[in-house]
Symmetry: C3
Subunit: 138 residues, 3 copies
């Protein structure tokens, strides 16, 4: 069985991190799947998905890491052409990646106790995001 | 239903980035799957897969990012042993990762408008690559 | 068919890298699946999974890369709050990611000749880890 829904969120841009674990759990419950997996996918080139312990410290540490690895204000050819100033957003999204798959056993996503599923908004302006959550299994 | 094909590409090495979105769409169409997902996987330890807005600026910005994060010409123990000078290639591939999964809804991969699927050739010499595209669903 | 098992490993912490390819192959064999895919997932926020050529040089180069990108001994807000000194562990795990999917064709995982599946222990203390290996297919 394949069950696809969207998580709709409005972000403020600029490295906002959104905990979508509750939304993913709800969609899993709606699907009725007890054994299988959940694919979380970000359609779009300036957002990404991963897991983290969602606590206030790391929610600030992670964007600081991104700024150290891929600074906003250095020269990117993307910005020279498009003048939208979000070259860093694209590179951060490609580095972290748009897809994550979580196993489902006994009708639960097999996450660690302190592990949450997060959407990372890397763009420099607010967005309405539709994140795909697709449950497969039986 | 599970449908597996290969995308065959010849790369010039040295951070060549290949847009394989068209190939992936063709394989999806051949599969006849309308709901499910597409797994893209790179067999090999010096290539990787992710998504990006495939435009000339980012196609140069991304390799420059890789060179900043994982420079070619610093000391790697891999190179001390094997003398093939591609320690950076291996580390870049492990960082980005070999697998990507894209949901399929209504017989289409759910990608953003400006989001392409790319193969990243990190090795320092040309390669013939066989990238797995596996469509699962119904 | 969906077949889930755990790989149980004890790690020493501090960037230990464990080759779990043999365990994954055994679980695939036990599943009897000949066409499909294998999801490898790390429940927990301080471990990750990827592929690498598992040879002694890269097994030391990769942790050195992590230390360059995400040093252990800089200020993290996570550490200011929790005083467990593993802010870097969390960030490294989120960067690399907890999930990896490998296609199965003709009852074999489609890996490159020099490509192994690895678990990365990023925490600063020993752990008992249960890594999920879920085989789907027919």
């Amino acid at each position: 069985m394949i069950f696809s829904e969207y998580v709709n969120i409005n972000t403020g841009g600029k490295n906002e991190i959104v905990d979508i674990t509750g939304d993913v759990r709800s969609i899993l419950k709606n699907s009725g799947v007890s054994a299988g997996s959940i694919l979380v996918f970000v359609p779009g080139a300036t957002g990404a998905v991963t897991t983290i312990e969602f606590e206030p410290g790391l929610v600030r540490d992670f964007p600081e890491l991104m700024e150290r690895l891929i600074p906003e204000n250095i020269t990117y050819l993307h910005n020279e052409t498009w003048h939208d100033g979000n070259g860093h957003s694209h590179l951060r999204a490609s580095l972290i990646g748009p897809s994550l798959t979580i196993p489902v056993i006994d009708a639960e996503p097999v996450l660690g106790t302190w592990q949450q599923i997060i959407f990372l908004e890397f763009d420099n302006k607010p967005h309405s995001r539709k994140i795909v959550v697709q449950v497969s299994g039986e």
